[in-house]
């Protein structure tokens, strides 16, 4: 309801009351370039995270399945550790890892790599700085955020995949092996279909999580969108509008604007479940 009323202006806060203004906030949003930027960033972030996490964790689940029985819990526990850590701790660690000149990532990986590229005179290395400033350089903020998400969620999704891979009936595996199917055939015809509901669940879970992503970017970028708003995600924008600029009703409109999208995602989940039940 809040999103349909106007924001009291700051100068005469006591005087003016909130009044009903209908869809004006939503109309403003359609024209707001910052909102577009936040939407675009959120989309890139979501797609990037899903595109990396799901294949990677499927691969890891296969590795876990192949390795010795006693080692399985150890490895999967280690993989899950970032997942059960508060995002705030993750981003503190990240802050130090991605730290401008002296961060570990820069010292060990990025700087030698960039130096190598420069010595090879590769054309696109010219525009790169000596050190990548992960939090300030608008080209790399998104990468840092996605990396954080991958680090965090891969373990959990791997566990789900492992569960559903182990739940495949033994006789099906043996039958397909007797048929002489190659590894890829087995993958396509048996393993991916049997994991399909986990994949769908993981996609929806990651989407909801990345739309709701806040703590990581809050700590990494200090509640703002970073340089040039390159890391401005939707919830950061809500926080910024609501608590930094004190425009609560407008912020409510922003957060309500993604609700239809999320609702359709959930509908997708149910539709899929119903289809399963019919079969």
């Amino acid at each position: 309801m809040m999103s349909f009323t106007s924001d009291p202006s700051l100068s005469n806060q006591q005087m003016s009351d909130e009044s009903f203004i209908g869809l004006a906030h939503y109309y403003d949003l359609i024209k707001d370039p910052t909102y577009h930027k936040a939407l675009k960033n959120t989309t890139v972030y979501t797609l990037g995270a899903i595109g990396i996490i799901i294949p990677f964790s499927f691969f890891l689940a296969h590795l876990l399945l192949a390795c010795h029985k006693l080692l399985r819990p150890v490895f999967s526990f280690i993989l899950i550790v970032p997942g059960i850590t508060p995002p705030i701790v993750l981003s503190i660690l990240f802050l130090l890892f991605f730290h401008g000149e002296n961060g570990i990532l820069n010292q060990f990986i990025a700087a030698p790599l960039i130096a190598l590229l420069k010595s090879l005179n590769s054309p696109w290395a010219e525009s790169l700085p000596d050190y990548i400033n992960w939090q300030k350089d608008p080209r790399f903020i998104m990468f840092a955020l996605i990396f954080q998400s991958v680090w965090r969620w891969t373990g959990f999704i791997t566990l789900f995949f492992l569960c559903s891979l182990q739940a495949i009936p033994k006789n099906l595996e043996e039958a397909i092996e007797l048929e002489g199917a190659s590894f890829f055939k087995r993958l396509i015809h048996l393993r991916i279909p049997s994991c399909s509901h986990v994949i769908l669940f993981a996609i929806i879970y990651l989407m909801v999580d990345s739309i709701a992503m806040f703590a990581g970017s809050y700590r990494l970028l200090g509640g703002s969108g970073g340089t040039d708003d390159a890391g401005l995600l939707l919830i950061s924008y809500v926080y910024q509008t609501g608590f930094t600029f004190q425009q609560f009703n407008r912020a409510a409109a922003i957060s309500m604007s993604v609700v239809p999208f999320l609702a359709s995602l959930i509908w997708l989940l149910f539709w899929r479940q119903k289809k399963d039940e019919l079969q």
Binding site: I84, I92, L93, C163, A263, I266
Partner: protein
């Protein structure tokens, strides 16, 4: 035979790859733990994982002063690039208007470049490299927990206690000792760690209790009892609740203010008690419990509530694992406490940690690392203890 060997090779190979990946995943945490023993300078500049002893740090300082070129490789690359750029500039100037002092500067720069190159190429023969004398175990056994001490004790409550002790003490020596401790701790005035930790624990436990009770009951109703409009209500419940709290944070904030729960722990616990994932989870779980068992209970003349209570042990594993997951989630929650809790004595751990990080320019980072270690310790321990149960109840579900 060869099939068996193939299988074993596969298992070794996958174990190796997994070890690498696991190392990448866990390394920051190990680094975090050891960072809580380091000084700021060491954290930022040293690439060593283990904290060094004081003598080693001094020796390294001397070595650095002896040879200015003992810098990391990237640094020298950078200097060379700078010099090259300067040379280019000077040459361009020279072509337009030749000047003697510019020519001199150019020669100097070229000379610098050559020396830099030489240092990078020739191995340092006559210099004795700084040897790390201490072994891994001696470092581990001699860890100095001073920063943990600072984190736990440098708050106003402990300082007041110390002050009282100083006033009551008559022995001069003891008094001086307490005074020294007081002065040391008074440099850093942090949050009251014990209080914040208790807050966090309380909120997480209440949150988890509420969520488990509500979701288990709701799941039972949706799975076992038929009523009109069940499907509609189920869909509605999911629709309303599965939309992330974060995106509804502002209406929620207004609402909490309206009820008057702002700046209280109930303001965090109550919104968290409604949990769509829990509802879905428990509906699935209850569907797997056979109806016959419940019917036996009802035939014996038990009321519906009693039936529910008696059926609870059947899903104990699911209850436990959901409780654990919810505990972890609420322990990690950051946004809701950030907007609901205003007064510092009601803060939860993530909040306090984030404030510490925000305020710590020049403060010892090791204290933050110690705090972070304490933050992840409870959840990690719980998870490690109950890992098998969680895994089995996940596997039981087949679907998520």
């Amino acid at each position: 035979m060869s099939w068996k060997r193939h299988k074993r090779a596969k298992s070794y190979l996958s174990a190796m790859i997994l070890t690498c990946v696991a190392l990448v995943f866990i390394y920051p945490f190990i680094w975090m733990f050891f960072s809580s023993f380091k000084t700021n300078q060491e954290i930022y500049q040293s690439s060593q994982l283990l904290p060094q002893s004081k003598s080693f740090i001094q020796a390294r300082q001397v070595a650095i002063q002896d040879d200015k070129k003992v810098k990391n490789r990237a640094q020298s690359f950078r200097e060379k690039r700078k010099i090259r750029a300067q040379i280019k500039e000077l040459e361009a100037l020279q072509q337009r208007s030749p000047k003697p002092e510019q020519a001199q500067a150019l020669r100097d720069l070229e000379q610098d470049l050559i020396t830099l190159d030489q240092v990078a190429q020739t191995p340092r023969k006559n210099k004795v490299p700084v040897q790390e004398e201490e072994s891994f175990w001696s470092i581990i056994s001699n860890l100095d927990f001073q920063y943990f001490d600072i984190l736990l004790k440098s708050n106003s409550r402990h300082l007041e206690k110390l002050e009282r002790k100083i006033q009551a003490e008559t022995n001069e020596q003891e008094k001086a000792r307490y005074q020294a401790e007081y002065d040391h701790l008074a440099q850093y005035q942090y949050f009251d760690f014990r209080k914040v930790f208790t807050n966090s624990l309380l909120v997480a436990l209440l949150h988890c209790f509420g969520a488990v009770t509500l979701s288990a009951t709701a799941g039972y109703v949706f799975a076992k009892i038929d009523f009109k409009g069940k499907k509609f209500f189920f869909t509605l419940a999911i629709l309303v609740i599965l939309i992330p709290k974060q995106s509804l944070i502002l209406p929620l904030f207004e609402w909490i203010n309206f009820i008057g729960l702002s700046n209280s722990h109930a303001g965090i616990v109550l919104p968290g008690a409604l949990n769509a994932i829990g509802l879905l989870f428990f509906t699935q779980i209850w569907k797997q419990v056979p109806d016959d068992l419940l019917d036996i209970c009802r035939l014996e003349g038990a009321s519906e509530l009693r039936t529910f209570v008696h059926a609870l042990p059947l899903i104990s594993s699911a209850l436990l694992s959901f409780a654990l997951l919810d505990f972890i989630m609420s322990w990690n929650e950051h946004l809701l406490p950030l907007i609901v809790l205003q007064s510092p004595d009601k803060q939860t751990l993530p909040l306090a940690l984030s404030q510490l990080m925000g305020a710590s320019l020049g403060e010892p980072l090791a204290v933050i690392m110690a705090g972070a270690t304490f933050t992840i310790l409870p959840t990690l321990t719980l998870f490690a203890l109950l890992y098998r149960r969680i895994k089995s109840s996940l596997a039981d579900l087949h679907l998520h």
